[in-house]
Amino acid sequence: MDADTAIGGSGGQFPSTQASLLEATASGLSGDAMNQVVNLYWKPVYRFLRFKFQKNNEDAKDLTQGFFTSVLQRDFFSRFDPAKASFRTYIRMAAERYAANQHASANRQKRGGGIDFETVEDQHIAAESPEVEFEREWRRQLFSLALDDLSTYCQQSGKQLQFAIFQDYDLTDGDRPSYADLAARHRVPETSVTNHLAWARRVLRGFVTERLRGTTSDSREFHQEMRRVWK
């Protein structure tokens, strides 16, 4: 069993250095809080707008950029009421409203502008609703950012082996190697493979939690969104 139970903190608790959105807004909305939101929501908003309004790649990117530049001001956050909806829903609806306005004025200027799917994957995804796509992309982005955090942390704390094993197993698409294979590949006992994987997953969970905390307004919303992440 790996002696390292968690990053810092006693009793295995992941220390929350991350302020919630509410706290960030109250204290004047630091650049960090804004970055957190943009990092997490850029891709989900992009994909949502792309399929909701049937934009090609470039137009969707412009729309997304326009949204984040013009709409995401301080009063956007202060107008958010956690009692009515989650921040995730709020941002999606705001993006939809923004894009609808742009779309309407653009359509007045030109005709056409049909669907331009670049990949087979895009066609498959278009069969689902844009809202479902938004939520999946949100989850994906949350985990992607957390994986970046994990990777950085492992590099900085000399846990490259743990990350390598984790990458070889949990980040592999399709058929996964057996624990025995991994043990042979990395020249460690099989029990170490189990322990390293458990450790990496635990730390990943911690990073996901932190990322989520920074983009939810209060603890009630945070717990509800946690449930959505792991459901």
Partner: protein, 275 residues
């Protein structure tokens, strides 16, 4: 770092699983989700028996201690509590096999059997209240009826996250009377109003919007249910005369038949002697 859908789903699954390496338990399968956490079926390696392991989403360290103080046939016994390496709390409890109350209600059960279940739930509640424990989220999903007819009330002390309106009291704060409201809801759920106006009245009194209009305690509620089962008048309902007579005659049917037979015999003997 870009990840595909399949990797995303895999990560969501594995990072959610509780790391039980440092415990005596071995994870087997997920049983259900509810309240503030996920319940798994696990094997206790030391005692070689299966348990239900509940992993809480939120730190509710007080919950397990609260319930562990309850020792009652209808309260699922807690074997152990602990903290996982990722900081989540868990507790191991008896694995109950049987049907949840919503499934039980859909089955073929007599009124008497259903009232027996209500009585067991009420007894557990009354006991818990006497120990200062409030349930807070009593609903069909939190009650199990075991294969031998035993009744278990679960998920104690956890305030409803997404409350089921039919069973949640409109009270500002949750206390013994709001538990009573939920119990009334369960009674109404198990015994439809059309089956008995007296039972419907008991449920309605327990579910009075104004807490002062409800029974003062769960024990008083159970006493009224008992009265109903004995064929007596219930406090919750001022019954019409015809119903009172109907109840009297069904309670005393044998006696009334014997008296009727005596009267008939006397009558016949009196008039037949003339012939």
């Amino acid at each position: 770092m870009e990840i595909s859908n399949s990797v995303l789903e895999h990560l969501r699954h594995v990072a959610a699983l509780p790391d039980l390496a440092a415990t005596r338990y071995e994870l087997e399968s997920e049983i259900g989700r509810g309240g503030m956490g996920v319940v798994y079926r696990a094997l206790d390696r030391q005692l070689d028996r299966h348990v239900a392991l509940k992993v809480l989403d939120v730190p509710l360290a007080g919950e397990a201690q609260l319930i562990a103080r309850l020792e009652h046939p209808s309260v699922v016994p807690i074997y152990e509590t602990g903290v996982l390496p990722d900081g989540r709390c868990f507790y191991a409890m008896k694995l109950v096999s049987g049907a949840r109350l919503d499934a039980y209600a859909a089955g073929q059960h007599t009124m008497s059997e259903r009232l027996r279940v209500i009585r067991r739930i009420g007894e557990a509640l009354a006991y818990a209240h006497s120990r200062g424990v409030i349930h807070r989220d009593l609903k069909p999903q939190n009650v199990m009826v075991g294969e031998f007819g035993e009744v278990y009330v679960m998920d104690w002390g956890v305030e409803a996250v997404a409350g089921t309106p039919a069973f949640r009291a409109p009270d500002a704060s949750l206390d013994q009377l709001s538990d009573l409201y939920s119990l009334g809801g369960l009674l109404r759920f198990l015994v439809p109003a059309s089956l008995s106006p007296a039972v419907a009245a008991i449920a309605a009194k327990a579910m009075s919007a104004d807490p002062s209009g409800r029974y003062p305690t769960v024990t008083a509620f159970l006493a009224d249910v008992d009265r109903f089962e004995q064929g007596l008048a219930v406090n919750a309902w001022s019954e019409p005369l015809w119903h009172r007579l109907q109840r009297f005659s069904s309670r005393n049917a044998v006696l009334l038949w014997l008296l009727a037979a005596y009267t008939l015999v006397k009558f016949l003997l009196f008039f037949l002697r003339k012939f």
